[in-house]
Symmetry: D2
Subunit: 350 residues, 4 copies
């Protein structure tokens, strides 16, 4: 028990209970408290995990020297003040996506954590699913070759959020995954966003986001709250193989197609016409790796503890959260400019 870390969960709404349950079940953590302004809500979460102290006072939590870390699952606009206070109190922090509601505030949080030598981790839960971990590994091992395109679709009949549009609600998932699996992360320089609000809700309910990637590749994301059919699919095309991740097909989530287009190398084909002549097709086998079944949040809890103990950045660091934020902000800029490409601010930390 003595070498466990101690964590308090702040925010007992939609996501808080999941954090509480996973920290409770983790061998790395003691769940020290549930904190929410609504005491009754906090109590319900505490009861659900078998009895944990509750409090409505964040100050009390931060003042407790036995607590090593806090996990924040409050609305995005409250992330900055809570994180800054927690860091000031010497706590490690994991924060729900998006990192903040504003890039500048996000950058401040990242700087502050770095200055204090504390871990600031983004809770990019999807990155800890067996499917995404496998995809990252396959790309890192060169199994797909160079990446040519990433096409992500995340559509469903969704709750129209009161405060954010469909980009800020859903695209952080896709962006954090792309940042996690690509060797260069979210390395684009510009983003173009098209949105539509045909129901006149005051915010985009349908969104498309295009981001040229280095080397002529492209990433594209389609998010939609108005689709009656649920699709969560990502296609990742590479020079060697192409991978399809269909998250709603538990029997074959990840398929790797040894199919594609081969093209003669530069030296053999010097003109475009000769290039065209050198294109050929490859129709090879399909392969679906076996994936373990485990809950992603358990991996999140484990990684958070490991980063703290090893004094290193988490695999989904505050900076990765900031990169996601930068793209979202640039997308908002593009939306205002009627879809013209908008530069992504890359000054991650001022």
């Amino acid at each position: 028990m003595s070498n466990r870390l101690s964590v308090a969960v702040v925010g007992a709404g939609y996501w808080g209970p999941n954090l509480a349950r996973n920290f409770r079940a983790s061998a790395d953590w003691d769940l020290a408290a549930i904190c929410d302004l609504d005491a009754e809500r906090a109590q319900r979460v505490a009861d659900g995990v078998g009895g944990v102290p509750v409090t409505t006072s964040l100050d009390e939590v931060l003042a407790n020297p036995l607590i090593d870390a806090i996990a924040i699952a409050t609305p995005a606009r409250t992330h900055h003040p809570i994180v800054m206070a927690a860091l000031a109190a010497g706590k490690h922090v994991i924060v729900e996506k998006p990192l903040a509601d504003d890039r500048v505030r996000g950058a401040e949080m990242v700087s502050e954590a770095r200055a204090r030598g504390l871990v600031l981790m983004a809770d990019h839960t999807y990155c800890y699913t067996p499917a995404v971990l496998k995809i990252r590994e396959l790309i890192a091992d060169g199994f797909l070759g160079d990446i040519l395109f990433v096409d992500s679709v995340r559509i469903n009949l969704g709750l129209i959020q009161p405060d954010v549009d469909v980009f800020w609600d859903l695209a952080p998932h896709d962006l954090s995954i792309i940042d996690f699996i690509l060797p260069g992360g979210l390395g684009g320089a510009t983003v173009a966003a098209q949105g539509a609000d045909p129901l006149r809700t005051g915010k985009a309910c349908i969104g498309y986001l295009s981001m040229p990637l280095p080397g002529g590749a492209i990433a594209h994301i389609h998010v939609n709250w108005l689709s009656p059919t649920k699709i969560r699919q990502m296609v990742i095309g590479g020079t060697k193989r192409t991978l399809v991740w269909d998250d709603l097909n538990p029997q074959q989530r990840v398929s790797v197609y040894d199919r594609g287009i081969d093209i003669a190398t530069q030296s053999e084909a010097t003109t475009l016409d000769r290039r065209a002549a050198n294109i050929s097709y490859r129709l090879g086998d399909t392969w679906a790796p076996a994936l373990e079944e485990h809950e992603a949040l358990a991996g999140v809890a484990k990684e958070f503890a490991a980063a703290i103990r090893e004094g290193r950045e988490a695999r989904t660091s505050g900076e990765s959260g900031l990169r996601v934020l930068s793209v979202l902000e640039a997308a908002a800029g593009s939306l205002k400019a009627d879809g013209a490409p908008y530069p992504i601010d890359v000054n991650v930390v001022s």
Copy 2:
């Protein structure tokens, strides 16, 4: 026999044999000749339909007073001269997509046909499939309500074309269908296109096209030559119901979901906040209409004959072909402008 119309097929490449076979099988038509510069190729097509005269001379075909119409399945850049010559010779014309390789030339063809009182029909074959005919009917009957969005995906491992990019190769299908099914046709004012050529073939192999539609709606098209999985799916969201057309699911090509988001009317909710409060979900039944099985090209042949006999525009008229061309040209303009929205030239006929 006497009240049949007579048609010659010009072009014996990929599509010509299909036209020949369907005109041959039609009760409305006599197939008078197959014309191709390559006599051997023409002969193979003629043999395949049970013996029809062949010729390598277009002039000969056009000079034949017994021939009422010609069907053109030659490369896009040859459409203009052949169509203009055919119209000058007093022939009705059906022409393979795209109408022409250039909007101005396409507009000239449309003007010429109109001036001469001849039928100029675009062979938008998909529009005559049972699925698309049913979709058009459902929308016209108000079954979906007002259209909120159209999202079309047409991806596959495709032949990289020597002369055109993926937009000009595949998007004419989606655009001609959208033009056919929406009450207002292709009524957008601008289009934004993102493309990628990660294999350095000299042209876009992956393409995304966004087109705001009147009333806050949006149409989006994804075309891709590099996808190992084949998808041909169109989602059409309406205020009442949403329709999904999955062309690769023969057991249930068209599904209509009585699901969606209901929102109180303008009069009841005057502010955005109150609007948000008035959003509710509808989770109703799914319905998949039975579709007849018939070949689309048989419907094309029939409509071509009917338009000629009734002295009217074909349902997929030259002007619809021109609207498709206008969007494609605007998309090319957007591509050159790095994806910024580009105006669609609506001066259909000068």
Copy 3:
């Protein structure tokens, strides 16, 4: 609180925690105790639902006058003694499937409950899923017409049970559902069973069960522990429409096809040859009813309470459990007779 019924859960293994959780959450019930010979296991279940008394003594539970009912989730061979003791103590009983490990003992339990005027309910959980409730309703309303066949497949890579074969492990699900949805219940007179044990485990791991139904119809069940693909599908063919229940397709679990074969009525077609001439096809629409999402066990808890309060049989009564048992026993008889049809003992209660 005063008008709630009180229940103890006996058996804290695989299924007990689910019963405990649902009784705990029910407005009809107070969860009075968890009883298991293994005190530690009982405690874990009690903790999981937020603190309930535990005991290792069944006698103590049965002697408690405040407890109205017991819910039994122990191994099948222990059902008879526990149920008989509970009934003798004046408790209402719900028991996990199969009702007993032997038809005679099952019949004794049913008789005893009837004699004492107590509710004996079979926990046929599947019957309380939204899908099965809807199927029962559609058949009862005559929407499918007369039932022609029921074909059920339930295959997966399954745990080879130490004590029972694949028929006794999986087929109770299919049999209890068929008993629930067909107007005549499990009304067959004979059953033929084919089994295979290719891995030499000492019991059938693959099983097929055929049961002629009144009126020339047939029910067939395929259960299999050795299939790498998971299928849970039931096709119910009727004279008017055919229904497909695909339990692994959450987006469209139940589909009703207005497709089938029409045949002229007896009076119009008196000979077989003329019958054949009078067969025609109907290719109508497909319809998928919207299904509520709710946990089946919540419905089980509610029905158990309602049956007790209204002094009536539960919808999945002890007799339905006995009919399932009768078919399983006849299937075992057929297996021993190399698959020859075996009579189903219909003397439900001696």
Copy 4:
């Protein structure tokens, strides 16, 4: 041209045109004549392949010394007289399934061909599809290990045949495939068949067929004319891997699952209890081999020519046709005996 073989197609109904087209397109064959009692029907088939002589006289065909072989696509009851006459005339024969309408007559045909040293080939077309050829190869290479079970489903809304029941109409496909892919062919000793005729058509429209295989394995076939959903799926379980062939999924027809149940060998576990303790699960990858796209009948034509030239039995020989016939006849016997297992007559040739 001189080293081509010459074939006449007898029977211009449903299947004849396919045979004609494939022999016409084959480099091994000259299509010498189309023979049908209905001259007009024969002419239509001849026209469809570009002009081939037609005749209504089988005698004329058989008397023609230039014709090496005949391909028979007439109703099953006519196979015996036509084949016997053709063999008597010294012609090699390929005959549509089923080989004959009666096992004794089929055996006579096989004996006769053998006595005369002529090729008698069964047109088991499915065996020449890329999928089945690959399955046969994988099993022969030991990739699946020992076969544990074969489960085949072939259901659809089907034409109720005037002369045969659903077993004789559809099961020959499944049986011929099983005979082709299993090392021991159709090696069962008995078969049990359950049928239903709920529409009172005078013959079974729904059929189930179970056949124990050597070594404790089992084959099971489900054929059904009354299903609104079309399924053509075969699962082949092996000790090493399990294969699923879904013929209606062109994107992944054949999947091989490295999943299953491992069991300790006999020597390590001497009692059943210890056996149970030695069972473990394997959850490995899925692999879908790339399959060429080619028409199966082209392979049939090629194999027929090769068997003639090499003086050997065809891969789907008359004897394989006879084995299929033997199972069908035994199934009919079981049907009459209410589903009791019925011996398969293995005296293939008297």
